[in-house]
C-alpha cells in the first residue's frame, strides 16, 4: 500500500511482459469506453489489478485538418480551426488569427484585444468546468459532474449572446473580433460569474474535502519535476510539479500584462494537487473576467479593416504563435509562401505529450480502476493529438 505523500517515481523504461505466459491480462480501454477522454484507446497489460504496460492508440478522430487547410483560402480556414479542439475552440481561433496578423502586419484595435482576452478566459473557465466534472466522474462522483456541466452551459449561454455560437464561436477573426459587445452583456457576465463562483464553493466543499476522493487521488500519477522539460509538459501539469511556467506571464500576449494575477504553482504533483490547482485557476479565471469587464474600453473600433478576404494574399514567412490554454501550451505554426492559401499549418496541442508519452509512463504500476482518473487528471483531449 502506497502511503499518502510518498511518491513513487514511475519507471521510464518499458517492461516487456511475456504475454504467452498466461500471467497477464491484455485488454483495451477504449475507444468504446466511458472511462476514456474523447475517442482514443489504451492497450493495457495487467498483472492482477496492476497495469504493467500500456500503449496508447490515437487517430480515431483524424480528419486531416492540416491537409485541408492547405486547400482552403486563409479566411476559409476559420470555420475549420475551431473544430480542432472542441471544448475550447477559442484558443485555436486566437492562435491562428494572431499568426495571420503577424505575417500580414495587421495591428489589432484596443477593444478587440480586451474582447479576445475575455473570450479566452471565459472558454478557459468553461473547459475547466467540464474537466472537473470528468475528474469527479472518473472516480464515480456523478453529482459534481451534474453540477459543473450545467455551470459550463451558463458560460456557453454567454458565448451564444456574444457570438451567436454555442460550441464553435468563430468570434476571434484576423484584425479583431467579429462583433461588438451586445447591450447588457457585461452585466450578464458578472451575474453568471456570481452564480458559478457560488457553485464552485459547493464543489470545493463536496469534492476536495471528501475523504474518498483524497484516498483515490492523493499520490496518483506523480510527475517528477525533471520530467517537465524532458517530456515537454506544460500548463497545470507542469505548474503542479513546481515549475512556474505560464505563457500568459511569459509571453504577455493580449491584455494579460495589464491584468493582475498571480502564478499558481504546487509541488506535490499528484492528481489531487493538479485538481486543486485547476480549481484555483478557475477562481482566478473568474477574477480575471471581472477585471476585464471592469477595464474594458467602452467604445472604439473592434475590428481592423482587412483586404477582400477572397483575394487576400499573405506575404511569405513563417511564425509560431503560442497561447496558454487550459492544458498547457497551445501553438500554431503557420508558413506562408505568399499565396492566398497557407503553405503549412501545424498545430501543437499539449495533449500530444500528456496523453501519449507521459500517460504511457505514468500508468505503469497503477491500479486498473485508477486509469480513467489518471487520464482525466492529465486533462487530455485526443483531437489535438491527431488533428
Amino acid at each position: 500500500m502506497r502511503r499518502q505523500n510518498e511518491h513513487v517515481i514511475p519507471p521510464e523504461t518499458r517492461a516487456t511482459p511475456d504475454l504467452s505466459s498466461g500471467k497477464y491480462l491484455v485488454m483495451w480501454q477504449g475507444p468504446q469506453h466511458p472511462g476514456i477522454t474523447g475517442n482514443m484507446s489504451l492497450r493495457l497489460v495487467a498483472d492482477g489489478d496492476t497495469v504493467v504496460d500500456c500503449e496508447t492508440h490515437v487517430g480515431y478522430l483524424h480528419r486531416g485538418f492540416e491537409k485541408l487547410m492547405e486547400r482552403r483560402l486563409w479566411m476559409q480556414n476559420f470555420p475549420l480551426v475551431c473544430r480542432i479542439a472542441v471544448p475550447e475552440p477559442d484558443f485555436n481561433e486566437y492562435c491562428y488569427a494572431a499568426a495571420l496578423e503577424e505575417l500580414a502586419g495587421v495591428t489589432v484595435p484596443e477593444k478587440a484585444v480586451w474582447l479576445r482576452t475575455l473570450s479566452l478566459e471565459m472558454i478557459r473557465l468553461a473547459s475547466f468546468l467540464m474537466w472537473i466534472g470528468g475528474q469527479a466522474g472518473a472516480f464515480g462522483h456523478g453529482t459534481i459532474a451534474q453540477w459543473s456541466v450545467t455551470m459550463r452551459d451558463y458560460v456557453l449561454d454567454l458565448f451564444e449572446e456574444l457570438s451567436g455560437g454555442r460550441i464553435y464561436h468563430m468570434y476571434i477573426i484576423p484584425g479583431g473580433v467579429r462583433g461588438d459587445v451586445p447591450d447588457g452583456f457585461l452585466d450578464h457576465v458578472l451575474e453568471t460569474m456570481q452564480v458559478i463562483k457560488k457553485n464552485l464553493d459547493d464543489i470545493e466543499l463536496v469534492m476536495f474535502h471528501n475523504a474518498v476522493f483524497k484516498m483515490r487521488a492523493v499520490g496518483l500519477g506523480y510527475i517528477p519535476p525533471d520530467w517537465v522539460d524532458k517530456y515537454g509538459i506544460t500548463g497545470p501539469n507542469a505548474r503542479s510539479a513546481g515549475v512556474a511556467r505560464d505563457l500568459r506571464k511569459d509571453l504577455g500576449y493580449l491584455a494579460y500584462p495589464q491584468l493582475d494575477f498571480k502564478l499558481i504553482t504546487g509541488g506535490r504533483s499528484d492528481a489531487f494537487e493538479r485538481a486543486e490547482l485547476r480549481l484555483a485557476e478557475m477562481y482566478q479565471s473568474i477574477d480575471l473576467i471581472r477585471q476585464i469587464v471592469a477595464r474594458m474600453p467602452k467604445d472604439g473600433p473592434f475590428r481592423e479593416r482587412l483586404p477582400n478576404p477572397l483575394h487576400w494574399k499573405i506575404p511569405a514567412g513563417e511564425t509560431y504563435v503560442a497561447a496558454e490554454c487550459t492544458r498547457g501550451e497551445y501553438g500554431f505554426y503557420v508558413v506562408s509562401d505568399g499565396g492566398d492559401k497557407p503553405r503549412r499549418v501545424a498545430v501543437r496541442g499539449p495533449s500530444y505529450t500528456h496523453a501519449v508519452s507521459v500517460m504511457e509512463r505514468l500508468v505503469r504500476g497503477v491500479n486498473i480502476a485508477d486509469v480513467a482518473g489518471l487520464m482525466v487528471s492529465l486533462h487530455t483531449y485526443p483531437p489535438e493529438i491527431e488533428r
Binding site: P31, Q32, H33, P34, G38, N39, G59, Y60, L61, H62, R63, G64, K67, L68, R71, P79, L80, R83, V86, P87, M130, G133, A145, Q146, W147, V149, T150, R152, D153, R166, I167, Y168, P383
Partner: protein
C-alpha cells in the same frame, strides 16, 4: 418473437488467424419478423420509452451529449440514458464525422448491439461530409455503412435539437418504421461491400454478435 427458420449464409471471416475464426459466429444476420397487432405496438412503446445510448463518443458531437445527460437538459426525463456496453444499449449515436479508423469500431459496436437497434446520426458531416467533404480520412455518408433512423443536422446540433431528434425517433419507433436491424440483414452484402471498400485493414470477423 416469432422467428423465421432460415439458415443464414455462411461468412468467410477472411483475414482472421485460423485459431481466432472459431471464436466468432460464421452466420450472416437474418431478418426478424415483428409480432402482430397490439403486441408489437406495446413492445414498440416500451422500446421507444427506454432508449439506452451506447457510450461511445465517436466524434465531436459527443460533447453535446454531456449537457444532455446533465441537469440542464436532463434526458433521463424521457427515458434516455447512457449504457457502457453495446450488448445492453439500443441506440447508437454517431457523434459527427467518422474517420475510417472509427468506422471500423462503429461497425463492430453496431453489430454487437441486440436488436431492435436504432441509429441517430448527428451533424452535417454524417449526412454529406459537411465540413470535411474533401478530407482523405472521413467518410461522407454514414448510411452507406450502417442503416440510420434519424439524422440531426447542424454543426454541431444543439441539445434542444438532440432532444427533438430523440422525440422524432420515438415517433418512428412507435409507428413501427425503425427496422434498421432488418434492413441491415436484408442488404447485408451491400453494406459489407461498402464497408470493405473503405476499411482496407479488415482483420475482424465479417459479422460479430
Amino acid at each position: 418473437m416469432s422467428d423465421k427458420k432460415i439458415i443464414p449464409a455462411p461468412l468467410a471471416n477472411e483475414g482472421l488467424p485460423p485459431d481466432e475464426r472459431g471464436l466468432f459466429c460464421d452466420a450472416a444476420p437474418r431478418e426478424y419478423e415483428p409480432a402482430r397487432g397490439i403486441m408489437e405496438d406495446f413492445a414498440n412503446w416500451a422500446r421507444s420509452e427506454s432508449l439506452w445510448i451506447l457510450g461511445f463518443g465517436t466524434g465531436c458531437g459527443a460533447i453535446e451529449l454531456r449537457p444532455l445527460m446533465t441537469s440542464r437538459f436532463d434526458m433521463y426525463r424521457y427515458g434516455i440514458q447512457p449504457r457502457p456496453t453495446p450488448r445492453q444499449s439500443s441506440v447508437f449515436v454517431i457523434g459527427g464525422y467518422a474517420s475510417v479508423k472509427t468506422l471500423k469500431r462503429i461497425v463492430r459496436s453496431y453489430e454487437q448491439m441486440m436488436g431492435p437497434k436504432f441509429v441517430v446520426a448527428l451533424g452535417s458531416c454524417t449526412i454529406n461530409g459537411g465540413m470535411y467533404w474533401d478530407s482523405y480520412n472521413t467518410i461522407k455518408r454514414i448510411d452507406q455503412y450502417i442503416p440510420v433512423d434519424v439524422y440531426i443536422t447542424g454543426c454541431m446540433p444543439r441539445p434542444e435539437a438532440l432532444l427533438a431528434g430523440f422525440q422524432e425517433l420515438k415517433k418512428i419507433i412507435r409507428a413501427g418504421r425503425a427496422e434498421g436491424q432488418n434492413e441491415y440483414a436484408r442488404n447485408f452484402e451491400w453494406f459489407k461491400a461498402n464497408q470493405k471498400k473503405v476499411i482496407k485493414d479488415w482483420n475482424m470477423p465479417d459479422y460479430n454478435w
